[in-house]
């Protein structure tokens, strides 16, 4: 994904984070959000391998082999950071103590289902901590490119890949749109600058509820 798209998605995710939130960002695109936290907003990042209070990437040469994130990448610790074992880390996650988790997706659908851990016969990396995160976090945000590399929609009527969790996604943020799961369905809340509603609808398989007012982001 181009860097400007990453930045746009990252900035939009960051707007969902409120002062005092405990947040778990999935590997890859979701971590971009950490670069866009508005001034005055303090959130605490969890790394599910056993830490709260994750800070920025260390300068080259200052890496600590004992300080890594859930992707194995080097990180730093902010003042007030704490360490704990993996069972406690997932007690935090599964027990509803994380306010927001942001995860990538292979597919997401209009029922709030998410598929992001395997493509049968092709790629079986395993679910890692994703199933627990999606099941346990108070709010689950999916952040991804709107279409796959072949231009096929990833926001579907119904996922056909094995699910990560059923009906847990509440917000989808892509390079094209922001969509929210509400009682009336998957609502198209915002579209990216320069796009029309028709273009977004065309790139989406899911039935979108189109409100009177749609904001830009």
């Amino acid at each position: 994904m181009a860097n400007d798209k990453r930045a746009i998605i990252g900035a939009r995710i960051a707007k969902e984070l409120k002062d005092g939130d405990y947040v778990n960002l999935g590997i890859g695109l979701p971590t971009e959000a950490a670069n866009h936290i508005p001034p005055g907003v303090h959130v605490v990042f969890q790394s599910e391998n056993g830490m709260l209070g994750v800070g920025p990437t260390p300068e080259a040469g200052k890496e600590d082999k004992d300080l890594v994130n859930a992707g194995g990448g080097h990180i730093t610790a902010l003042p007030g950071a704490s360490y704990f074992d993996s069972a406690t880390s997932f007690a935090i996650i599964r027990g509803g103590h994380i306010d927001i988790t942001v995860l990538g997706a292979l597919q997401v659908d209009q029922e709030g289902n998410l598929a992001n851990w395997m493509i049968p016969g092709k790629m079986v990396p395993g679910m890692g901590g994703a199933m627990d995160l999606v099941t346990g976090a108070k709010k689950v945000i999916v952040a991804m490119e709107h279409c796959d590399k072949y231009g096929n929609p990833k926001v579907l009527k119904q996922c056909n890949l094995p699910l990560t969790a059923k009906g847990k996604v509440s917000l989808i943020i892509t390079d094209m749109a922001v969509m929210e799961l509400r009682s009336e369905g998957l609502v198209l809340c915002e579209i990216a600058e320069g796009l029309t509603v028709e273009e977004v609808v065309k790139a989406t398989e899911a039935d979108l509820v189109i409100p009177c007012v749609i904001n830009r982001f």
Partner: protein, 218 residues
């Protein structure tokens, strides 16, 4: 994130009829300042989840003698004659739970689990009315998670993130009860700046803590 409040503010937050998990073991590590505030405000009709009912004048025993508790899940009553008298008079409903089972059931709630399978109590009255499940060739009692509205705990020090350290055996049930509160209030001896606690000594991360109350010097 965590907010510093007074013991009276803490007590006013806890509505009569609440389910309250309270840390401590025979009053060691009990949140005495908050308990005293509950007594002062006469917050009653409480369901109490505790290891022991402590003594009449120490720990949660004070809630009992002031008739603020109408039911309890507890493992030991032996040091408190008031709770035994109230139980015999039908004024308080007691579910006796083996201590290890109690801790796992509370932890399960805090960890988002529905329950656990334990061998403790098999062949005793504890198994009565419960589902027995066979796993890996052995029998276990299915013990459901114990939900609580509030957790009231005691720690030694807190930092301004709500991270907690404990002192020796006054740790006991406190970090477990902390996990299980929809709202968790921690009474502490001292509050320090972020980064002043040794990160490897934090036995309860701030994510489990919503409010801090300073212990009243006695």
């Amino acid at each position: 994130m965590v907010k510093l409040i007074t013991a009276d503010e803490a007590a006013s937050m806890i509505k009569p009829g609440s389910r309250v998990a309270i840390g401590g073991f025979l009053a060691a590590g009990a949140p005495e300042t908050i308990i005293d505030a509950l007594v002062l405000r006469k917050v009653g009709d409480l369901h109490m989840i505790v290891i022991a009912s402590d003594w009449e004048d120490r720990g949660v025993g004070k809630l009992v003698v002031n008739h603020l508790v109408t039911s309890a899940q507890v493992s030991h009553l032996g040091t408190n004659k008031a709770i035994q008298a109230q139980m015999n008079a039908g004024e308080i409903a007691i579910e006796l739970v083996p201590q290890g089972t109690l801790m796992e059931r509370v932890r399960a709630f805090g960890a988002g689990l529905g329950g656990v399978l334990t061998p403790t109590g098999l062949g005793t009255v504890v198994e009565e009315g419960k589902q027995i499940v066979s796993c890996n060739g052995k029998d276990y009692i299915l013990e459901p998670a114990i939900a609580s509205d509030f957790a009231i705990i005691r720690a030694h020090k807190a930092d301004k993130m709500g991270n907690l350290t404990f002192s020796k055996t006054s740790r006991n049930s406190n970090p477990i009860m902390a996990m299980a509160g929809k709202i968790t209030i921690a009474e502490v001896d001292e509050i320090v700046e972020k980064g002043e606690l040794h990160p490897e000594q934090i036995a309860c991360p701030g994510v489990f803590v919503n409010f801090l109350v300073k212990t009243k010097e006695s």
